[in-house]
Symmetry: C2
Subunit: 224 residues, 2 copies
């Protein structure tokens, strides 16, 4: 079993501090929701985000959307051998069942994530596909107890992905961690939680590019 974690994901509800900004109130009204119940999104809230700390790493739910579609569509996931978590910059952890058929449409994905933040699980009855709880990455790792924890970053040691995945192919439940934010690097907290930080390319790559390659190479390493 491979554990995939998209960490510090730029996916969060609009913070209270800027909930009264005109661009947010207007967008929320158009969606017929309260300002505090919509996702922060740079496409629509650029002006409001100027007042936010660490804004360059926030307000990009599209990164989680595209990366999750990529990850959930792999043969590894289809055969039930992938466990996927989304850890957000606001320290929530979203657990995603491998059978989840995520909306392909971005606005529908955003609506689903907003619903999840409000009602804590989706669907509200029956088999739970998505659930959310308040937790740090450290708490998530304590819970899932990976046999090894790797993170991917240009700040890591240069190593081929093939070598990296072959090294973890014999592990019981290794975790691979990719950053779900548009710019910058992992926080010091994240870095301290990993056994190894690997750099697979000298330039920064999109999260979905890194994620798809890791899973494909892991499939090869285990002979799937």
């Amino acid at each position: 079993l491979l554990i995939f974690i998209l960490t510090e994901s730029a996916l969060e509800l609009v913070p209270k501090k800027i909930a009264n900004h005109p661009s947010i109130r207007k967008h929320a009204a158009r969606k017929k929701k309260k300002p505090g119940e919509i996702l922060l999104d740079r496409t629509y809230h650029h002006a409001a985000m100027r007042r936010l700390a660490g804004a360059e790493k926030r307000g990009r739910p599209d990164i989680a959307h595209i990366t999750l579609l990529q990850v959930l569509g792999t043969p590894l996931n289809m055969s039930g051998m992938l466990k996927t978590y989304l850890h957000t910059a606001a320290d929530y952890v979203i657990e995603i069942d491998s059978r989840t058929n995520l909306p392909r449409n971005y606005e529908r994905f955003v609506g689903l994530m907003e619903q999840l933040h409000v009602q804590h699980r989706v669907p509200s009855k029956g088999a739970r596909l998505l659930s959310i709880k308040k937790a740090t990455l450290s708490e998530l790792l304590n819970e899932v107890q990976p046999s090894k924890t790797l993170a991917f970053s240009t700040m890591g040691r240069a190593k081929s992905l093939q070598e990296t995945c072959e090294a973890i192919s014999g592990e019981k439940n290794p975790a691979v961690i990719v950053g779900g934010f548009p710019h910058g690097h992992f926080s010091a907290d994240t870095m301290a939680l990993t056994d190894e930080i690997v750099s697979i390319h000298p330039q920064a790559l999109d999260a979905w590019v890194v994620a798809s390659r890791i899973i494909y190479e892991y499939e090869r390493a285990i002979g799937l």
Copy 2:
């Protein structure tokens, strides 16, 4: 140089036949555009699409969006060794410069594609990043003259992606063709244009999953 073609992409302007349907007119009005100048999108035009022939393969521009983001973000493309084309179900060919920074936001991508269909190139002045012209897949292949043409489909011969990419790694400009539609198979016309049809997995995979794997494995095969 690898040529990547997403073919029969479910990305087209609303056809005249259904341009007067209430769901289309309402959506166009909200976007302040004419019904014939917006992209057909099942998320918004589901009811109107009932009257369309071959509807199950149409109205999914999200497939092109996610696949292009995946493809343009690869090291192969960043090093200028990938040439990307989008062939649409309505027989337009969109040429995408490798330096194109495609919008990450879906609505902005849709707006860009709508603009492209109206003004034929983007930006309208200076270095051309995106251009569109009326052409079939056959006409595109006649123009780019690939040294070998492979298509990927569950209807093809089962073959590992590694073997497939190693076999084309010595070619001058091989073309790989992936379907940009949600259900069904390539048209007979498409099939007849290929040297080989390869099946890399017994079940249908999302276009973006197939595309990311082909490019990664091709990079490996050429030692990038």
